[in-house]
Symmetry: C2
Subunit: 460 residues, 2 copies
């Protein structure tokens, strides 16, 4: 992944109360106090059993670059009460997180409730000032990665090997919501994104074809000013590519038993022009008018015309309607054309499906049976519609060596005091059994020795 | 609002297919073609009846700065197929949106389904290239603003005048998700945010107190190295402020009938130290241990000690438990202390409530009756949990003067072809009645003249 840092990730990307507390601690003479904070979540998202921890590299970049700028200090002077002592600003201007120690799970690990994802140790004031930004960076990254992984798991349970593409930028929560979504969808197991900037910044494969508007913008052959295409390997230029497509359309209509008034001329012209631009990557959106009466025939016609010129089309995208049914129609058509015209590769053309797909849609498509090779997933993925926030918290667990506990009438919210070491214990078969929390001064568990442990919040 | 532009808002913040289409159009010789696109939504969010249109200023900044950088062009050369003609890159490097005309509703307007929020007119290729970024900028901004306005409407229906603060940064969808949320919560009627960077960038009032960890970090008086505080107006320094607070705590415990083992010493020390730092702005979080057995007493003790020194406390924040009940307890305590010790302003101390508040919580608090003056709202507000995405679309409606329609088996998805002019018609009483769409060449509706109009998607 790229090394770019979002320019808004800076010390002031925090809640004001952190700075208020910094002043109150400073004023109380607590500059030397040492604290330990645990960053963890209490419940896995999406009613699920696991969370994938992500965002650590963003946190580390934030720490590396942590420095209040002059304009930050000026803004704070204007914003905090005028009676605040000026020395505070000198203190803040010189403050760095160099004395902060971070212990963390590896980014991309499977994580479980209440186990610290990150432990932050160091000066109380500095550790406190990091809270909001670390939470912001971990919460959405982990949520998105977990969401993406759940889609991956859902498609793996299906009838065929499927690629997953993230198509959500336009519906994401702001420009960077979209960028983060593209990045962490890839971390969570997606194969690519439509988001070009994410491709550039994070080196993620970018994918895309064309929109309905492209098809609609063509009324017929008259919109195709340039219809030339060179043969892929031979020294021949086809000057009337559209006519060639039209001939194939006529031939295929007979074979596929499609009524001559079904196929839309503008669509054929649009596909022909798109094929001229991308002869080696021809993938057409076939549902602008009607998949089975127009789109599939026009696609096949252009693909066969390309075939005559030495090119192999890639496939189709379907963005509406009954995706299971339409993908099966498309596959049957490809297989039938492949057989009739002896073009073997035609049977295995790619079928991309998009249109408001979520985890449940995929599970339902798995049950129905489908012929889809690639899912393009947008809104539900990038906004994590099922649960749009992960509830990581950042809790003080030790101060100057003394464990601290936050009591609560809600037992779920009681914190586990003290610094912790975590061991993930595996069975002989290599399955993770549970995560064991210990005090750092306890002996680590040993292989084949019994460990007595208790659930911290279940009284037996 | 500030004039800053998010650095990731740039031409590559788009879907790859836009660039593919640009090449295909370019290759088909359609550089001079003129198009009209409508940007609109089909359904108001949150099962509501209205949407507030926002994001326009971000769109205009995007257009002003639109230019592919050299590194963008390099990235595209690497990413698009190698057979793409090099002249395309020269074309893109020189491309500007100078020939694009934008018609839009005013930012902050109430908007309804299917009425164009923005009409984009100009060269087909350029107008197409703007699609994704404009949608990204409008969708979340409008969704957030609408959400914020709904909270404002919910509190206005309640028993008291209430302030609304946005506290959601840590749970937002990434750093900029958080920034956008702070900005558009303010646009939608919030009074301030906890997000300091949003305050700095957009000139929004920032608010905040302290966290539970601040209270927990104090065990007792021994953690208060410096307990001095100057009298607000007199030339007197109180050197033993904590002892003064302790005396008030003893006195108040009797008056409030609170058992002496209830109040937590560390909490009193924490409040005292916070008051020393913010004597004019003392607002304490009173639920770290127990609101009625500890927090309210310790707050009142410190507030009365401050009063002895000429300062007026601001109030309390409650972040857990039954907010209606606890706020009423707090208000009764304030009134009782006010009366007993003849400190009039004590009765009207501010009560801030936070903790996972959403629209429904507010409506329920309205019904129960409460004494809350300020709501701090986080997750549900900033992630728009009820519906985390608005579905604005960008549809081609005219090309080279010819209206275009997108047909669909789903009648909801059929587009309205052609360029439109919108009139909002008002009754004699000044109420908006409906939005009338016309062709630009039709005569505008006249006052007191009948207009015959039909719903575009309901057949009577």
């Amino acid at each position: 992944m790229g090394n770019e840092q979002n320019s808004v990730v800076q010390p002031l990307l925090t809640d004001l109360y952190q700075i208020n507390m910094a002043y109150a601690y400073w004023k109380a003479g607590r500059i030397e106090d040492q604290a330990v904070f645990d960053l963890f979540f209490r419940k896995s998202p999406f009613s699920g059993e696991f969370t994938i921890f992500a965002g650590l590299s963003d946190c580390l970049k934030f720490l590396e670059n942590f420095k209040y700028s002059e304009s930050d200090i000026d803004y704070l002077k204007k914003t905090l009460p005028s009676h605040v002592e000026p020395d505070l600003y000198t203190y803040l201007a010189n403050l760095t997180p160099k004395d902060i120690k971070i212990h963390a799970m590896q980014e991309g690990s499977i994580a479980f409730p209440r186990i610290p994802l990150i432990r932050v140790e160091g000066p109380l004031i500095v550790a406190q000032l990091l809270e909001t930004t670390l939470l912001t960076l971990v919460n959405f990254a982990s949520l998105m990665t977990t969401n993406a992984a759940r889609y991956r798991i859902a498609v793996e349970a299906g009838p065929r090997r499927v690629q997953l593409l993230e198509f959500g930028l336009r519906r994401a929560q702001g420009p960077d919501g979209g960028l983060s979504a593209s990045k962490y969808a890839y971390v969570g197991g997606f194969d690519g994104t439509s988001n070009v900037l994410a491709g550039k910044l994070f080196n993620i494969p970018v994918k895309g074809t064309h929109a309905h508007s492209y098809v609609m913008s063509f009324t017929g052959a008259e919109d195709l000013v340039n219809a030339e295409i060179k043969h892929k390997t031979e020294d021949y230029v086809e000057k009337k590519f559209y006519e060639k497509c039209l001939k194939w359309a006529t031939k295929l209509a007979v074979h596929l038993k499609i009524m001559p008034d079904g196929p839309h001329d503008g669509e054929l012209a649009a596909f022909a022009s798109y094929a001229i631009a991308f002869p080696d990557e021809f993938l057409a959106l076939i549902d602008t008018y009607d998949v089975s009466k127009s789109g599939i025939l026009n696609f096949a016609a252009v693909a066969m015309a390309l075939n005559d010129l030495g090119y192999r089309a890639l496939g189709v995208r379907i963005d509406s309607g009954d995706l299971a049914y339409l993908s099966n129609i498309a596959r049957e058509t490809f297989e039938s054309v492949s057989k009739e015209f002896s073009v073997e590769w035609f049977a295995s053309l790619i079928i991309v499906a998009s249109n408001d797909i979520n985890e449940d849609t995929i599970l339902s498509l798995n049950n129905q049976g489908h012929s889809i090779d690639v899912f393009g997933i947008g809104t539900h993925l990038v906004t994590c519609q099922k649960q749009p926030a992960l509830g990581c918290v950042y809790k003080l667990v030790e101060i100057n060596g003394n464990p601290k506990i936050k009591l609560s009438q809600d037992v779920e919210k009681v914190t586990m005091p003290g610094k912790k070491t975590v061991f993930r214990l595996y069975s002989n078969e290599g399955y993770a059994l549970y995560d064991l929390l210990q005090r750092p001064d306890e002996n680590p568990p040993e292989v084949n020795k019994r460990v007595l442990c208790r659930h911290p919040f279940q009284v037996s």
